[in-house]
């Protein structure tokens, strides 16, 4: 009854896409208007925290090597930490904008986890390609929350941060268990299916 690994990626992609759309809407209308309704203010931080919680069963049931397990554990911790800090900022338990650096740290750690745990080259197969791509995307995208913590009104930082999640969702939707990438697949990767 356990879903195949690629289905788990797609389910997470759905959560990340919703997270990205909420961030995008907040960026467009402004934080003040976005937070006028309490449920909306807590929506995306709560979603990030929930995705972090859900990452733990993925770590437990889907990882087949130590480094793979550590990477999923790092994503779980970072998602929960970033979500919790944003929840505390919304709630007013935390005040300093410097706490937003947590999100930048989360993206850096998540990106590094992608790059470190992928042992194969870019064109080994699609998931290898996507791991490299997501790793570098997250590393570069960490600049958005970094700028946001210094200049909270920077529209470029807010929209860039939101689009990062939309792009990550697209990459996660592209994931397959074994599939070629741009026509390349290593014979060592196994037989592609679907």
């Amino acid at each position: 009854m356990q879903p195949p690994a690629e289905h788990v990626h797609w389910l997470f992609a759905t959560g990340v896409l919703l997270l990205g759309l909420c961030l995008l809407a907040e960026g467009v209308v402004g934080t003040e208007i976005w937070r006028r309704r309490a449920w909306r203010a807590y929506l995306w931080p709560g979603l990030a925290f929930t995705l972090g919680v859900l990452m733990w069963p993925v770590m437990t049931f889907y990882t087949n090597s130590t480094i793979h397990m550590l990477a999923h554990g790092a994503w779980a911790e970072m998602l929960m930490l970033a979500g919790a800090v944003e929840l505390a900022l919304v709630r007013g338990k935390l005040h300093s904008q410097a706490w937003r650096l947590t999100m930048a740290a989360a993206l850096v750690v998540s990106g590094l986890a992608f790059l470190v745990h992928e042992q194969n080259s870019w064109f080994f197969q699609r998931s290898s390609f996507l791991h490299h791509l997501m790793g570098w995307t997250l590393l570069f995208a960490a600049v958005f929350p970094l700028v946001r913590s210094v200049r909270p009104r920077s529209q470029t930082a807010v929209i860039g941060f939101a689009l990062t999640f939309v792009v990550i969702a697209v990459f996660l939707y592209c994931d397959r268990d074994v599939a070629p990438v741009f026509g390349h697949i290593s014979p060592l990767a196994g037989a592609p299916h679907r």
């Binding site: 389910l11 896409l17 759309l21 467009v28 209308v29 003040e32 208007i33 006028r36």
Partner: protein, 92 residues
């Protein structure tokens, strides 16, 4: 009959650029999902359900994208547009 009320109702609601962008996000997302479904119909196992397991029928990425777009449009956007309009009215 309150003529003033009628004239208020007939006045088309002028939307700001921000309101238009926010209103477009959900439909554009759903449209992307629909285009994906048309481009890769084999991703929709519901079209050929025979012999498919639960997860292959439950998790269909193009439908998930459409669902996110619709959820966003119907659950998040209406309240957001109201608040945007209230803020605009208050600033006048």
């Amino acid at each position: 009959m309150n003529a003033e009320l009628v004239s208020e109702l007939e006045v088309p609601r002028q939307r700001t650029a921000r309101a238009r962008v926010v209103s477009a996000v959900g439909p554009l997302t759903a449209l992307a999902g629909a285009i994906w479904a048309i481009a890769q119909p084999y991703r929709l196992t519901v079209l050929h359900p025979h012999g498919q397991g639960f997860w292959w029928l439950f998790v269909e990425p193009p439908l998930l994208v459409i669902a996110v777009g619709l959820f966003f449009y119907f659950a998040v956007v209406p309240g957001l547009l109201d608040d945007l309009e209230d803020a605009r009215a208050a600033s006048r």
